[in-house]
Amino acid sequence: MSTYVLVAGNAGVSELVAAAAKLDGPVVAVVVGADEVVRAVAAPGVDKIVWLGDPGDRAVEAFAADVAKVVAADPGVVFAGRKPAERALLGAVAAAISAPVVTMPVEIAAGQVTRAIAGGIASETRSYAGPVAIVSDGGAPLTGGGSTSVEQAAASPAEVTVTDLRPNEVAAADLGTADRVVSVGRGLKAKEDLAIIEALATAFKAELGCSRPVAEGLDWVARDRYVGISGQQISPQVYLAVGISGQLQHMSGCRGAQLIVSINTDKDAPIVAESDYILTGDLYTLVPALTAALG
């Protein structure tokens, strides 16, 4: 029985390969992607690659049924990352082999998975008689160098065509590797006021993060910067939350931080109970004061 890692157009699956290697059987990467992706995924820990081809103009999602077919021929535990195309491939596999889906895994062993539930306030361990489909953070890109065999498999992708891509104006952010993150929430009153938060982030040598509504809805900050159950899940040394109430869905993205500092007008906001340092007050006076103290 093989253990599978699904690769959806990018090689950022190092964490998944590491987790798969701990289970029984060879680790098989099922790849939809260009040849450079195949070369990168041919890395130590990956025993075999089944390559379904370069999607070209098609969306990776077009290959969902092909990926499912590969796994269904010899069902085993399947891993995929949290990105949209990765989820689409994993869903098709779970459907084809009738496997339960596990998200937010904490510990994975043969026939048994512990996962975080209810946004991370509790965990649950289940034993499974058959394969499971696991969604987890993909991790850094693999960079080749393995003695991996590559098998090309025929694919009959569905009609799902990418007709246009309007690139983001801002560069992609990587909150995951930042030691310090200054994150802003709806406590901010206007987009122009972001300047004071950005000044603090600069003085603090921190990346800028935010709560979901600030990125989606208000559109003040790029979407890849929001923290939470559906956004970035980070564990920096310091997480400084400014004008963020600390709803469960937000906290499940930053609870791993070594230190949490909150600035909030409401001393009873949920984030206060989860903070190491609590500054109760108006961000419009406290943030500039903090920037000055750091400068």
Binding site: A122, T125, Y128, E216, E274, Y277, T280
Partner: protein, 258 residues
């Protein structure tokens, strides 16, 4: 033509409490049509009106999902009818089991051009039901969608991916999950609630759906996850400059000022 909206009637997890043995208690949590599924219903209503299609809600859950208060709440948001697969076995069902039950209903309904779903459920947030459903139906899966156009047997979408805004055209039918902000929702008014009471509701059990649901494993342990213990130091902010200095000193002492 039918447009289906898959929705969940779910408790607000903010109100959930966890006992020291890891057991969750949702009894204080009020159940509602999950926030982002309300977005999908509103979006579906506008699309169905433009297409002259019927808008059918499909929901899967325990007994609560089939109660009139639950179906009315969903219908009041603009659905024409709902089909609920309700069974104690489906209370807290995982993504695969849930998708299997939805797929059974979609197949039985027939003439479905599109299944819409919200970004994620508010209580679990696995974001996997639409993908498994698409796999079961053999339809394309398109997530993170802001805009949907249906025309001549194809579905065109604009979706937010990490590289930017991607336009995709796929052969219909398809499964589409929307962003949380694809459309603004509004609270249903008294008129909507009254009308909801007169709309058709079909309730099926797991047995009626003809489904042999996937095994979801056996729970062998539960635990409360406390996360790192927090210091809970309240810094006096009556003098902002002094408060800032105190915080900076504390962070410097902890060795976390880069």
């Amino acid at each position: 033509m039918r447009i289906v909206v898959a929705y969940k009637y779910a408790p607000d997890p903010q109100e959930a409490t966890v006992a020291s043995d890891g057991t969750l208690d949702f009894s204080r949590a009020k159940a509602i049509v999950s926030d982002y599924d309300a977005v999908a219903i509103e979006y579906g209503r506008q699309l169905a009106d433009a297409q002259g299609a019927a808008l059918v809600g499909v929901s899967v859950g325990g007994e609560a999902a089939a109660k009139p208060v639950a179906t009315k709440a969903a219908l009041a948001r603009g659905l024409d009818e709902v089909v609920v697969v309700s069974d104690p076995e489906l209370d807290g069902a995982g993504s695969t089991r849930t998708a299997q039950a939805i797929a059974a209903v979609v197949k039985e309904l027939g003439d479905v051009e599109l299944v819409l779903a919200g970004d994620s459920s508010m209580d679990v947030g696995a974001r996997m039901v639409p993908s498994v459903l698409a796999g079961l139906l053999g339809w394309p899966m398109l997530s993170d969608v802001e805009k949907v156009t249906l025309a001549d047997g194809s579905v065109s979408v604009e979706r937010l991916v990490s590289e930017g805004v991607q336009s995709i055209t796929a052969a219909a039918p398809a499964v589409v999950s929307l962003t949380s902000e694809a459309v603004k929702t509004k609270a249903p008014g008294m008129k909507d609630l009254l009308a909801a009471g007169k709309k058709p509701v079909a309730v099926k059990s797991l047995a009626d759906s003809g489904l042999v649901a996937v095994s979801e494993g056996t729970v062998t342990a539960r635990a409360k996850l406390d996360g790192p213990a927090r210091k809970g130091v309240v810094i006096d902010t009556s003098d902002p400059a002094a408060a800032a200095a105190e915080l900076v000193n504390a962070l410097r002492a902890a060795g976390v000022l880069g």
